[in-house]
């Protein structure tokens, strides 16, 4: 049997078996992609409270202009808020289509201001107080409670968020696949060798994982090969995160419904720029990536899709002496997708002035990430209270009407 017939045979299997789980037709169900901006992005220079005088006093060099007040000013959102101009052609269109919401004053109750510590906190999704298990991430637990999940991490290592060793989630998720997505090479192990390797694992406890591994490998490569063909027809070939995000869009349209990806480079202590410059370039790339993701996943699937963008904490509300910002607390999270009720700022807000800053330096946290995700997941998947407790122990969901 050559690989073509093998693959045909695999696709013909219905319901499909992956890692011992039985899947119903995955096309109809909701998609969730979590995007983690590692390094703490400077939220208030992307979703900027430009209507607040205190913002301009705090950021005389970095601050962005009110809509219409400068050639490269922010784009009007709601209330005091303006969006970074680098997102004009990408995410601002989603906002106007009411498919993008921002959740200001969002974050955690972890006060360490340590990147590692707070990233871990979020990924684990466990109460900060008490002993926490590094073997259990909240998306891993989510994959465990969803009977139709096809999870995947688009990362080189399996991230903490997808560790899944808690209660019954452990049994079901012995292995969530991960695959680096930025550089996908042509697999060197050829079809005949794949067959020989599979033959060695017949009856072995790893047989299913080996089989699925080759399939993930082929899925990813096939997607990428198609994209190369498309580029040959004259399309500009995307780079960086946009390339990754478009690949993820294709894979989540066809194969996977629960995804995670992370992007670094947000720790802007020095010379971060303003309407242009370093951070503007990074955010522009992110915007092109997410818009590309929406395009690739296709209008039908996008209707059932939620993308949530998070970061470990915000940065100091005031700019520092190095034209940058330091570790802070509250951030602004994003939720987008056809499944999202967007075009609005979601969750509780407070007027931004010196008196309302947390420890006189940062945005306060008014929406806890666990409560926000809890509310969103409850609506998106119809999770029971017990299932939500498995995903986020000891956290009450907060309905921000995102779905």
């Amino acid at each position: 049997m050559n690989r073509r017939t093998l693959l045909a045979g695999l696709t013909a299997l219905a319901p499909m078996t992956v890692a011992g789980r039985v899947w119903a037709a995955p096309k109809a169900d909701a998609r969730l992609l979590v995007v983690f901006l590692r390094g703490a992005y400077d939220a208030v220079n992307i979703v900027a409270p430009v209507g607040a005088d205190f913002y301009h006093q705090s950021r005389p060099i970095l601050g962005l202009a009110k809509p219409g007040e400068a050639p490269n000013a922010t784009l009007a959102l709601e209330g005091d808020w303006g969006l970074h101009p680098a997102l004009h052609d990408t995410l601002y269109l989603l906002w106007q289509r009411k498919e993008l919401a921002f959740i200001p004053f969002a974050g955690t109750d972890d006060l360490t201001r340590s990147h590692f510590e707070t990233q871990d906190t979020i990924e684990m999704g466990q109460p900060v107080q008490g002993s926490r298990s590094y073997n259990s991430g909240f998306m891993g637990r989510l994959a465990g409670v969803l009977t139709q999940s096809r999870p995947i991490a688009f990362t080189d290592q399996l991230p903490l968020i997808f560790h899944g060793k808690s209660g019954d989630a452990e049994a079901r998720h012995a292995g969530i696949p991960n695959t680096g997505i930025a550089s996908v090479g042509k697999p060197a192990v050829d079809d005949r060798q794949v067959q020989l390797i599979l033959s060695m694992y017949k009856g072995n406890s790893l047989e299913q994982a080996v089989r699925e591994g080759f399939q993930v490998r082929d899925d990813v490569y096939r997607s990428v090969a198609e994209e190369m063909t498309a580029a040959n027809r004259g399309a500009a070939s995307p780079r960086g995160f946009e390339l990754s995000a478009r690949r993820i869009g294709k894979l989540m349209r066809e194969q996977y419904n629960l995804g995670f990806v992370d992007i670094g480079g947000w720790d802007t202590h020095v010379n971060q720029g303003s309407a242009t410059g370093y951070l503007a370039d990074r955010i522009g790339e992110l915007g092109r990536g997410l818009a590309g993701f929406a395009e690739e996943i296709g209008p039908d699937t996008w209707r059932n899709t939620a993308v949530v963008v998070i970061s470990e904490f915000g940065r100091t509300f005031r700019e520092n002496g190095d034209r940058g910002t330091d570790h802070g607390h509250g951030s602004v999270y994003w939720a987008m997708g056809g499944a999202i009720r967007g075009g609005r700022m979601a969750g509780p807000q407070v007027k931004i002035e010196q008196a309302t800053l947390f420890q006189n330096r940062d945005l306060p946290v008014l929406t806890d990430y666990r409560a926000m995700f809890g509310g969103l997941l409850q609506k998106l998947y119809g999770l029971s209270a017990a299932q939500l407790q498995t995903v986020f122990p000891q956290a009450a969901p907060q309905d921000l009407a995102l779905v």
């Binding site: 890692a19 360490t112 340590s114 590692f116 510590e117 871990d120 107080q129 002993s131 926490r132 298990s133 590094y134 073997n135 995947i152 080189d156 290592q157 399996l158 903490l160 012995a174 292995g175 969530i176 696949p177 991960n178 695959t179 697999p187 060197a188 192990v189 060798q193 020989l196 390797i197 033959s199 060695m200 694992y201 017949k202 009856g203 072995n204 790893l206 994982a209 080996v210 089989r211 699925e212 591994g213 080759f214 399939q215 993930v216 490998r217």
Partner: protein, 497 residues
């Protein structure tokens, strides 16, 4: 142990390898070392298993590397430049780069600074890999990986990269089979750990709990072993003032505190940053008096029954089984307590435990790659470790590359994910198909020296072949080239444990 004699005996006994190695001995060797080699097994068989085990548990400085490997290590900057110099030179370079006025020049300078930082980490990794592949004191090298992982630091945080070589050589490796307390004290005081867990930024006015928490949760007692958040806070106060100082000058201190100042390389205990109040830690009242508090607290931690249990469980999990038998863990913990935390005594119980050698522990990527290269090349010393560093990164277990303080998972299922297995087979192909860059010295313009992986070797014919499972044997028979045979052998379930 008379290693010189052993090696002489070894040379005379190479031909013995053609005789079958009893499977139990092969299995034991595999569990203690970074993987079977013809020469290593011949050495064990010449010495006798028990003598060999005792030697592994008590290595001596005489256990030297082959000259071709040692020469590579001797040529490294990290081998002859002290830590303080490495770190302060790089700091000066960073400062100079940051002060450049011209943005383009600044960018070039910053890039070259980063490259220099990376280079120090690559050297440390190359040295570790050469030792892992060729040191006769194999258990010492496996323990070095284990304890680094236990006292994990992440290379890309701050300026840890130039500290790695020294961290391994002074804080970890000398103590890996010695007293656990020495290991705790040495890692706790090393700049790499102080930077990684932020204790260098902790003082009486701004206490950072990071190091205190991990010291209890990961390094000693283990999570959920009965200590409280209050204990963490008290330990954090005890640790205030323990930090790093890269300045040659002493900090400004009141005269009365000056005698308490401790400096050793980059390490500094600064009494001016210490919280001198009394503390209550794990039920003990610790009189506020300075650095002695740290030693007292570490003593308390090392004598906690939870610590003995935690360390025993970690060792048994790594070397033997995801879920080691509870009675064995108890015996190991008892040995820990009886011997005042002597790691060799704990390991002595483990390596003699019934079922140790025959345990089926799925190889994590480090053990997988190293065992493949050892088997393929034995004492034919590779000239470039970069391909190995690359494979480990690709397999998501790169050296010094785990971001969080918990280290890489010791549990097999962390490495058996579908995507991970597919990548492993790709790596198997690279190792099996040729020298893969291992014999091209890492200098510009160099060319490949001869080298081919010989996995269908004397050990295979004498022993391994008879032990293969039928599906593997059938698949190997269908190989169309020695390269493909190698790839299939390295991909077989038989080689994964």
């Amino acid at each position: 142990m008379k290693t010189r004699h052993t090696l002489t005996v070894l040379a005379a006994l190479v031909s013995v390898a053609a005789a079958p190695v009893p499977p139990a001995e092969l299995a034991l060797f595999n569990h203690v070392t970074w993987g079977a080699t013809d020469s290593g097994l011949a050495q064990m068989r010449a010495m006798g298993t028990e003598r060999w085990l005792q030697w592994q548990l008590h290595p001596t400085p005489k256990d030297t590397l082959p000259p071709a490997a040692q020469a590579q290590i001797d040529a490294m900057a990290i081998s002859h430049r002290p830590l303080t110099q490495l770190v302060t030179d790089l700091q000066a370079r960073q400062k100079a780069a940051n002060q450049m006025a011209d943005p383009a020049e600044k960018q070039v300078a910053q890039k070259s600074y980063q490259e220099a930082m990376n280079d120090t980490a690559r050297q440390a990794a190359a040295r570790d890999i050469l030792r892992d592949l060729y040191s006769p004191a194999q258990l010492q090298e496996r323990m070095t990986w284990f304890w680094f992982n236990h006292f994990n630091v992440h290379q890309y945080k701050s300026d840890i990269r130039p500290m790695l070589g020294d961290y391994i050589d002074t804080a970890i490796r000398p103590h890996v089979l010695g007293k656990f307390r020495d290991l705790v004290m040495a890692t706790l005081q090393h700049p790499a750990m102080l930077r990684y867990l932020d204790n260098a930024a902790s003082d009486a006015a701004h206490v950072n709990e990071n190091e205190a928490r991990e010291l209890m949760e990961l390094h000693t007692m283990g999570v959920g072993s009965g200590y409280t958040q209050q204990d963490v806070q008290e330990l954090a106060r005890i640790l205030t003032g323990v930090g790093i100082d890269t300045n040659a000058q002493n900090p400004n201190l009141p005269l009365r505190l000056l005698p308490q100042l401790i400096r050793n390389g980059l390490f500094e205990y600064n009494p001016g940053r210490h919280d001198f109040h009394d503390k209550t830690f794990l039920g003990h009242v610790i009189a506020g008096r300075g650095f002695e508090e740290v030693q007292e607290a570490v003593d308390i931690l090392c004598h906690e029954p939870a610590t003995a249990q935690h360390i025993a469980l970690q060792l048994a999990t790594y070397f033997m089984d995801d879920a080691p038998p509870a009675p064995l863990v108890d015996q190991m913990a008892a040995a820990f307590t009886r011997s005042d935390g002597d790691i060799a005594s704990v390991m002595n119980v483990l390596v003699h435990a019934p079922g140790f050698a025959t345990a089926q522990k799925f190889k994590d990527p480090v053990r997988y790659v190293l065992s493949a290269v050892r088997l393929a090349y034995d004492q034919h010393v590779i000239l470039n470790t970069q391909p190995i560093q690359g494979w480990l990164n690709r397999l998501a277990e790169g050296l010094y590359n785990h971001e969080t303080p918990d280290g890489y998972s010791l549990i097999s299922t962390a490495w058996t994910g579908p995507g991970q297995l597919a990548t492993r087979f790709e790596v198997a192909r690279q190792i099996g198909f040729g020298s893969a860059g291992l014999f091209r010295p890492p200098v510009a313009g160099s060319t490949d020296q001869p080298g081919f992986p010989t996995l269908e070797n004397a050990l295979f014919f004498s022993t391994t072949r008879a032990e293969l499972t039928p599906p593997t044997r059938t698949a190997l028979d269908q190989a169309m080239s020695p390269q493909e045979w190698n790839m299939l052998f390295l991909s077989s379930p038989d080689f994964m444990y």
